[in-house]
């Protein structure tokens, strides 16, 4: 198993934000987690990334305990809803950032970044500054910057939340392509039902700090608390009204 989380919990004062959370994730798969805001999903991601310390529990990657490793040594990249491009660097340098930190040689950096730019269809924007880009372009740079360093896990916190619906759809497809091509293992949290089903190889549901991961998509759909059933009823109701009117 690539990522194994066992019984982590976290409280702020009297408020227990994460309760006995366990999950397992295979390599090159995406686990999408559905949850409303305030369900603890951001805290969970920050714990996995090493940005927040859990009260107890353990995190293992490829069998090795990484619970006490600092964030920069985990190889786990955490992407926020905002693209957070570095405003003082152009597109090329934003994408190259992680490679430069790792002190890779100039030729490798050039090759990898140009390849990434091509894949993201951003080769014409290489010298642009972040404020000159559209929302979708910025998000693509943000993905490129994360994926180019070949992270062991990519954590995505509502990554398409700030995009309009058209761009959002295109980005979802692009992300699936990238996940395939670069063999990415990722954990994606979203409050959007469709997105959760569309993006995940596995689907989970999170509520009040508790996480349930489903064995199959059908199981997820049939569980009334995920909201899929009420959604189905709504659309079927509309359809029935229409047929009755006809």
């Amino acid at each position: 198993m690539h990522l194994e989380i066992e019984k982590i919990s976290k409280s702020y004062g009297n408020e227990e934000v994460i309760k006995d959370l366990s999950l397992q994730l295979e390599a090159n798969k995406t686990l999408s987690i559905l949850g409303k805001s305030g369900c603890g999903k951001t805290t969970m991601l920050k714990i996995i990334a090493g940005l927040t310390k859990p009260d107890n529990g353990s995190i293992k990657m490829a069998g090795k305990d990484i619970s006490d490793l600092s964030p920069e040594k985990r190889g786990i990249v955490y992407l926020y809803q905002e693209d957070l491009l570095f405003p003082h660097l152009n597109v090329f340098e934003n994408i190259a950032f992680g490679l430069r930190i790792r002190k890779e040689n100039e030729a490798d950096i050039n090759r990898k970044v140009n390849e990434m730019l091509l894949f993201l269809e951003l080769e014409k924007q290489a010298q642009r500054m972040p404020h000159e880009l559209s929302g979708g372009q910025r998000q693509r740079v943000s993905f490129g910057r994360a994926i180019i360093i070949n992270p062991s896990i990519l954590l995505l916190d509502e990554p398409f939340g700030s995009l309009d619906s058209g761009t959002r759809q295109r980005m979802q497809h692009l992300f699936k392509d990238m996940a395939d091509k670069f063999q990415i293992t990722s954990l994606l949290v979203t409050h959007d039902l469709k997105e959760a089903i569309l993006m995940g190889d596995q689907i989970g549901f999170m509520k009040k700090g508790r996480l349930q991961v489903y064995n199959s998509r059908d199981e997820f759909i049939n569980d009334p608390q995920t909201g899929v059933q009420s959604e189905l009823h709504f659309w079927e109701g509309l359809k029935n009204e229409k047929t009755e009117q006809l």
Binding site: L84, F97, I101
Partner: protein, 257 residues
């Protein structure tokens, strides 16, 4: 239709603003000004030539002021930036910020006078090092409060992102945070420069009058009733802030708000 008084008030405003600058400049170029005369009898650059005469000590005062202000501004800006991060991430953030206001609001001279015994003990009484440290006691908290707004959620998230991309603390400071704060650092530098440049009380008490800066000179000339040199030192004091204002108004305005 009632006639508007606005142009009248605007004119008064401009006259009030410009008057002290023109008056001090003229006074600095004057000599011989007996009582009932409204305009001095002699005009010229003789007083200004005094800057180069070593026995007047104005040149030394100017250099001291520049040296002290540059040192204070550099340390306060850099130290304040780091300290403000510590405070911003602390659980008791609000109390710590409240405490930081105190050295600035309480009379710095009373504060300095109570500390003078310790300045004496560590040999920082009556020398430039002591004056610099004394001025840092007020300019550091100023810089700390100044940078408070920089550590907002977005910049914290950026800092976290750098960490997950593999950057350690030094990388995130040098490659991301410092470039992001560049504009603010510059503004803070000039504002703390001016705090030091304008400072009189602490400099007088801890410097014992031995460390002569321009403000100390102005005070001495007032006491000696040497108003022409007083005006000349005042002009020297006013010049850098005017230049800074011309470059960017933000360099000067933002005090205590």
């Amino acid at each position: 239709m009632v006639k508007s008084w606005k142009p009248f008030f605007v004119t008064i405003l401009i006259v009030l603003v410009l008057f002290p600058f023109i008056y001090l400049l003229l006074l600095s170029m004057s000599s011989g000004w007996a009582f009932p005369q409204i305009i001095p009898s002699n005009f010229g650059f003789d007083n200004w030539k005094a800057i180069t005469q070593s026995e007047v000590g104005l040149f030394t005062a100017l250099m001291n002021s520049i040296l002290i202000a540059l040192t204070v501004a550099s340390i306060a800006t850099f130290g304040g930036f780091i300290l403000s991060r510590i405070v911003a991430y602390h659980k008791q953030k609000n109390s710590l910020i409240l405490i930081s206001y105190f050295p600035y609001i309480l009379s710095p001279v009373v504060f300095g006078a109570c500390l003078s015994f310790f300045f004496m003990k560590v040999n920082l009484f009556g020398n430039m090092g002591g004056v610099i440290i004394a001025q840092l006691i007020i300019s550091l908290p100023y810089a700390l409060i100044f940078f408070g707004s920089f550590w907002n959620e977005k910049n914290r998230n950026i800092e976290n992102l750098v960490a997950t991309l593999g950057g350690n603390k030094i990388v995130s400071f040098v490659k991301v945070l410092l470039p992001l704060a560049k504009g603010l650092l510059l503004v803070c530098f000039f504002q703390t420069f001016l705090i030091s440049w304008f400072e009189y009380g602490l400099t007088a008490i801890i410097g014992l009058g031995k460390v002569q800066t321009l403000t100390i000179k102005v005070f001495l000339y007032i006491k000696e009733a040497n108003f022409f040199y007083g005006a000349l030192s005042s002009c020297l004091l006013i010049m850098p802030p005017v230049i800074l204002l011309y470059l960017n108004k933000r360099f000067v305005f933002n005090r205590m708000s």
